[in-house]
Symmetry: C2
Subunit: 391 residues, 2 copies
């Protein structure tokens, strides 16, 4: 077990999970030290974070010449590009790497961090969806733990403490159902970007908010759960739970069900990952809002209607087909969401476009890192090409 204080390299420090990770570090300065920060291109915020947390290592991806120029002025010590990201991920002083970059960027640094023997607090689900076999095998070889940050997976992980894996009957992921839980197909056809960006219970980045509206996010979470907990897909189910109070459940072979609950908060799963196997004391601090059951009144549950949420179904199909299908799914979804956000396709076109890409996909079995990334890049290009149909 790692000692405290634990030294953290934070990849994706300016995103939603990154900022909330820093809230936790700010709240528990005795327990955690930031030794490396890596961001993409929110240079102003990164500079503030560097000023506050004084890491030994700073990395900024800065993928445009203007951003690069700005980094050289504002953060002359920052290492640019892939070199910087890998440098943060493998920094000698770090005990834990928080992988909170968005989308595909997290995969290579996560694998590098695992090989460098770091514990991985994993917030980037694409990494496990695309390369679950690579990542979990590498972690097993290196003997490092994968500590889930996604609230559903954190819930399952908490329910599994002190239990044997062989006694799991099934995992039950809860889903808020997103903003269109009760919408008809007709209504879904005319959804605006603004409507899709308004999540009823969670405030998150844009990509994941759209993925939550299409329920692609829940599909990706099924794949993530499969890899994190080594449970076959047919033993992972989803139930709609609009209040987002119960974050997920585990059913055991004796019929007993354990579930984890809190008011929606990402601070809690972040704390759980960083402090595992102990828990941090937030009692009476207001840092995590207290849940009063009598005020909550009711919790509700409904079946998931996959006919209205085809993205969920596509994710499960890709999962069961295996090979590079999940990589193609992630690439096609990244592109489709971007096309939707920029007004180029409609809400229902997201699923149609992903399906069209998957139909064209030539899967590779047991892909290595380069085949994984190539399948994903192919899917992005193919989605871009096919989207002209919808323009």
């Amino acid at each position: 077990m790692m000692k405290f204080p634990r030294r953290i390299a934070l990849l994706g420090s300016t995103g939603s999970i990154g900022r909330q990770t820093l809230d936790v570090v700010r709240r528990f300065p005795e327990q955690f030290h930031i030794v490396a920060l890596a961001a993409r291109q929110n240079i102003a915020l990164l500079a503030q974070q560097v000023h506050e947390f004084k890491p030994s290592f700073v990395s900024c991806f800065a993928d445009t010449p203007i951003a690069e120029e700005m980094v050289r002025t504002e953060l002359p010590e920052a290492i640019l590009g892939e070199e910087g990201l890998l440098g943060a991920a493998t920094h000698a002083e770090a005990d834990i790497v928080v992988a909170a970059t968005s989308g595909l960027m997290g995969l290579h640094p996560t694998l590098a961090a695992i090989e460098a023997g770091k514990a991985i607090a994993i917030a980037n689900k694409e990494t496990l969806v695309m390369a679950g076999a690579l990542v979990t095998q590498a972690a097993q070889r290196a003997g490092v733990p994968l500590l889930p940050i996604d609230s559903e997976h954190s819930a399952i992980w908490q329910c599994l403490r002190g239990e044997e894996n062989a006694t799991i009957q099934r995992l039950l992921l809860t889903a808020s159902g997103g903003p269109f839980r009760s919408a008809t197909v007709e209504q879904l056809r005319s959804v605006t970007v603004q409507q899709a960006l308004t999540h009823p219970t969670w405030r998150m980045g844009q990509k994941i908010t759209i993925d939550s509206a299409t329920l692609m996010n829940k599909g990706l979470e099924v794949l993530e759960a499969h890899w994190l907990f080594d449970i076959p897909y047919e033993h992972i189910n989803v139930v709609i739970h609009p209040e987002s109070i119960i974050h997920s459940m585990v059913e055991f072979i004796d019929g007993s069900i354990k579930m984890q609950a809190s008011l929606p908060s990402m601070h809690l799963p972040i704390m759980n990952a960083l402090a595992y196997p102990t828990r941090l004391n937030c009692a009476d601090t207001g840092f995590v809002r207290e849940l009063h059951w009598a005020d909550i009144g009711k919790l509700s549950f409904e079946a998931l209607d996959i006919t209205r949420f085809p993205c969920f179904h596509l994710a499960l199909q890709a999962a069961k087909l295996g090979g590079t299908y999940p990589c193609a799914l992630v690439g096609a979804d990244e592109e489709a969401v971007e096309l939707f956000l920029t007004g180029k396709i409609g809400f229902l076109d997201i699923a149609a476009l992903i399906e069209a890409v998957l139909e064209k996909h030539q899967s590779v079995q047991q892909p290595d890192l380069s085949a994984t990334l190539e399948a994903c890049a192919w899917a992005r290009r193919t989605a871009q090409h096919l989207c002209k149909r919808y323009a």
Copy 2:
């Protein structure tokens, strides 16, 4: 950890928990063997059980001459009275003693079983309520586990697997609210025995069903939880949850809440206690009914209104006063419930009578076994005497 098959001495084999314990043994014959059976006076059923499970030792309390006579004919091998009960509790072949006698009878044999080094699966809450300090200290000295069978305590115990006790913020016991959850004080005044014996979610023995209707049972469970999990009373709360699906919860210092759920079933907590720390495989057997969340639809929660359920409040008062107050509470409640069941007092008189007994009680600090039993017997006598007020 105990090996399988585990050898069980079952005290109270003809009661509700006793019969359900035998269901579990019947379902898992490879895992469990019955080595001793003890009952009070349901001689016909005990004889059937002896025929089926062929224990090495049979005990029948038989507290009337007629019962004694009947035992001599039907079960000539049975050992009578206290000697038989203690013999079953300390039987050399037993690994686990299931303490499922009702009321006060369980205390002495439970202490004897602990001293004989047996693991105790404890279904008799009066034992811990009256003599929590004696029982938990004896168990600690003997190094034997106390395995809870009450569904609420089993839930908490399951939620605590793999967690450190120091990280518990509070325990939250759920309560169905019983048949009179929504009744007015006026309606409570005229409750009949039949109404009070009709529990909305659980089928149990008569005494515990009445205790559930007055919420005395929930008060006793708070004391039981205090002793089992070593948590101060001010960190144990109760919430009304009419569906009895969530059996209890634990809130941790980081704000995370874990809860355990199932359709109401005592087989599940019995299996948990007997199989700990593993779980028995009931998948697809129908032995434990599967819970379908979408069919359940809603779970609801309300605050407990202690003004309508004064028995709950009396239990907490006795708990906080300590000494022999909890023993007097148990004795007064046993008598009051019997007086109600035989039509001698009304439903609201149960609390009034217990309160009158507690007001007269002269508590002894740190009572030993005899002071514990004496306080309880005194309370029964006093209740009998005082009840003439209500006749």
